[in-house]
Every structure is written in C-alpha cells, then in structure tokens.
Symmetry: none
Subunit: 211 residues, 2 copies
DNA sequence: CTACAATCCCCCATTTGGGGGGTATCTGAT
DNA sequence: ATCAGATACCCCCCAAATGGGGGATTGTAG
C-alpha cells in the first residue's frame, strides 16, 4: 500500500453527488475510497468492518439520523478518525454543533473538487480546513462573545498582573515579566484584593474569571 | 481607482519581513499597500490619516503594545476594517484572544506569499481564512468544550475540596468544614494538581473554572 | 491642590507546595 | 477468590510564597 494513501469514506445521501465524489477520488492519488454510505446508520456498520479508515466525509442533511448526530458515533467507534463535514448547511448553529461534536473540518458543498482534495490533504497532515464562509461564521461567533464588556474595576496594570497570577506565576516571576520589583507586584495585588473585596488569590481569581 | 483594489496596511516589526511583504504586494494586483508600521502605536497614528483602508495585516509579537492589544484599538478607529493576524504565535490562547478581539483571519508566518494574498482576497470578499494549524487549534478548542460534562478528572471529594479552595479557604479551614485533617486536605490537593497537570492554586482554579 | 496609579521598601506570621512516609476500604479484572 | 489500583485518610520536614501591617516617592489627570 502506498504509504501516503489517504483512505476515505463518503457518507452522503445525494446519489449523484456521492458517485461523483467517488469517481473523482478513485481517479485521484493518493485517495482511496474505502466505502460509501447513504446514511449514518449504514456508514457506522461499514466502519466497524474497516479499521483502516483515515477520514470520513459526512453530509449533514441525511435521512434518518442527521450527520450532526452521527459525528460522535463515528468518533466513538474510531476516535482518531477525522470527520470532515461536507454540506450546504452554513448556519452558525450547525457549524458550531459539528465542531463541538468533534468534526475536524467543515467544507461547503459549493467547493471545487480539487479544493476538497486539498482540504483532505491538510486534514490528513494534522491541520484543519474551513471554507471561507464557514470560517467567517466562526470568527463572528467569537467576536460576538467578546461584546459582553466586563466591569472595569481593575486598572490596566492590575489586569496585567491578574492575568499573570492566573497563569500561576509567583510575585517574583510576575515582577520579572513586567520588569518591576516584586514588592510593587505585591502592592498591586493588595490593591486588587481591596478592589475585588477579597483577601486571597483564590477568591480573586474566581471573582475575576466569573465575569 | 480600480474597483477591485484591496488596500492594505502592514504592521510588523521585523523589517526584513515587512519590506518583503511590501515589495510583494506592491508588485501584485490588486493590492495596494497604503502604509506600513513597526508598532501598533505608529500604525494607529497612520490609520487616522488613511480612512480608505480595507485590511490591516498585524503581527502579534510587537515591541511595546502587542498586536493582541492592538486589535480592538484598530477596530475602534475603523470598525469595518478587517484585521488579519499574520504571526508565528500559534498557541490556542493567543489565537482565541485574537478572534475574540475581532480579528478576521489568523495566518501563520510560515505561509507562502501567494497563499497570504489568496487569504486577503477571501477576507476582502467577506470570508475568512485560517492556516490549517490554526484552524486545528480552533476545532480542538470546540471539541474540548463539548467534553465539559465528561470532565470528571476530579473525584467527588476532590471537587468538594476544589470548591472550598475557590472560596478562599485555607487547608485548615477546608479540613474543619469537611471534618478531616488538614494533612488530608493537602494530600487531596496534591492529587488534584497532579490530575489537572498544574502545580499551584492559581492554575488549578483557572483550569477548573475554565471548563 | 488632590486623588490616584504606579513604583518601591521592611517586618513577620501564616500558608503553600514538594518531598517523603504510611493505613484502610472498595472495586473491577483476572 | 484474589489482587492491582483507586480513593480517602493521616503524618513529618522544610523551603518558598503569600498576606497584612506599616511606610515612601513619583507622575499625572481632574
């Protein structure tokens, strides 16, 4: 067997698209289509019989069990399997759910076959590929999360020290990082405790991280 | 002006890399380098004078203010500006922070220039590009999040002690609350640190609260 | 002028973390 | 039935870190 063979499976209910993909990958090195399925259920059964699989290309809009529900099941049978979502659903909710369930990549069906192949190469070498529109949804998600502005009870210097404290630094290592004296760090931390109405590191971190 | 012109700015302290990028983009259509800067501070000043900017390419490891801190400032001056991080820092923490601050894309410095250009095209047309290794960090982050319920790294006793520790109790006050010896509390906490792969209270609390 | 952030210093008791050592149950796998 | 492993429990030593109490000087913004 070719050492750089990439063994894939296709789980897709649209027969035309599925056979198209299979044809393409059958003709394209170094891909090897181990099996195809038109549902999660059938895919799972076939997966049991083929433990040499690298990547499963999974659609979301499947009859019966959805691809979204299927992800954890595939990962359960073979945890090191890379699940690549190939679908036309691009809503944030579906994307996030897929990623949370353990999908490695999320590719739009509009993507050209060569680009899908390139994505699979990336995945096989330990990376991850996101279609531009999908990636945009993800960054939007993160940016939204930040909009919750938190209380400005700490000065910028105090925040800086707080962050370093959370990383487990001692007063002196914080001092070194900020090029100030450990005594100064201590003074700042005293002040932090006063501002947060606490009197030790544990409570301070808890309070700081809670908001 | 060419309607498909992409007006970019480079904020990067490594002079060689910066001039390289500038040369490349100066020669490559449809890019136009509006200005370059070697620090966030200088970049912000120049941004005020150029309101026709589309994208800023920003390094993270800058002297003075870090790129991470700079992102919100750039977005504040010009909210519709797309901030593209181009850096060699690939730690999850930095990546997430950048995305939360409003970065649109995050590209590894190891990326070929043509690919960077292609990423900028994607960003300019409303998408987002992530380097494979970066994207992988992001999906890992999501996958971890899902395991939060399954995060039973701590036994029930350890959890109990952890909660009391977060409230700021000392070993002896935890001992009193649980009617055991302080030495036992200490043993438990040692074990907690082992399980969480940390070695002090601060990191333990941060890790415990993060999930 | 005043308040406040940021910097620095000393003293000293308490807490912590890391290194040992141990016993008693309970559970799951052989 | 037994036995390894996990869990909970207890103890000692000692260096390092922390926290609380004093104090001080700058610079800056209101």
């Amino acid at each position: 067997m070719n050492p750089i063979n990439i063994r894939i499976a296709l789980v897709e209910d649209d027969e035309r698209f599925r056979t198209n993909l299979k044809k393409y990958f059958d003709l394209t090195d170094p891909f090897e289509v181990i099996f195809t399925a038109d549902s999660v259920e059938s895919g799972l059964i076939q997966l049991e019989a083929h433990d040499d699989l690298d990547i499963v290309l999974l659609d979301i809009g499947l009859p019966g069990m959805s691809g979204l529900e299927g992800i954890p099941l595939f990962k359960k049978v073979k945890p090191e399997l890379d699940v690549v979502i190939l679908t036309s659903y691009e809503e944030e909710q579906k994307i996030l759910k897929a990623l949370c369930s353990g999908a490695t990549s999320y590719i739009s069906k509009r993507t050209r076959l060569e680009e899908i192949a390139s994505a699979l190469h990336i995945v096989h070498s330990g990376g991850s590929f996101m279609s531009p529109s999908i990636a945009r949804e993800i960054v939007t998600y993160f940016a939204k999360g930040q909009n919750k502005e938190k209380k400005k009870i700490l000065t910028s210097r105090q925040t800086e020290i707080m962050e370093l404290m959370i990383e487990g630094n001692t007063y002196s290592s914080i001092a070194q990082a900020l090029l100030i004296s450990a005594e100064t760090v201590k003074s700042h931390i005293k002040q932090i405790y006063t501002n947060l109405h606490v009197n030790n590191k544990a409570q301070a971190i808890a309070k700081y991280m809670a908001n």
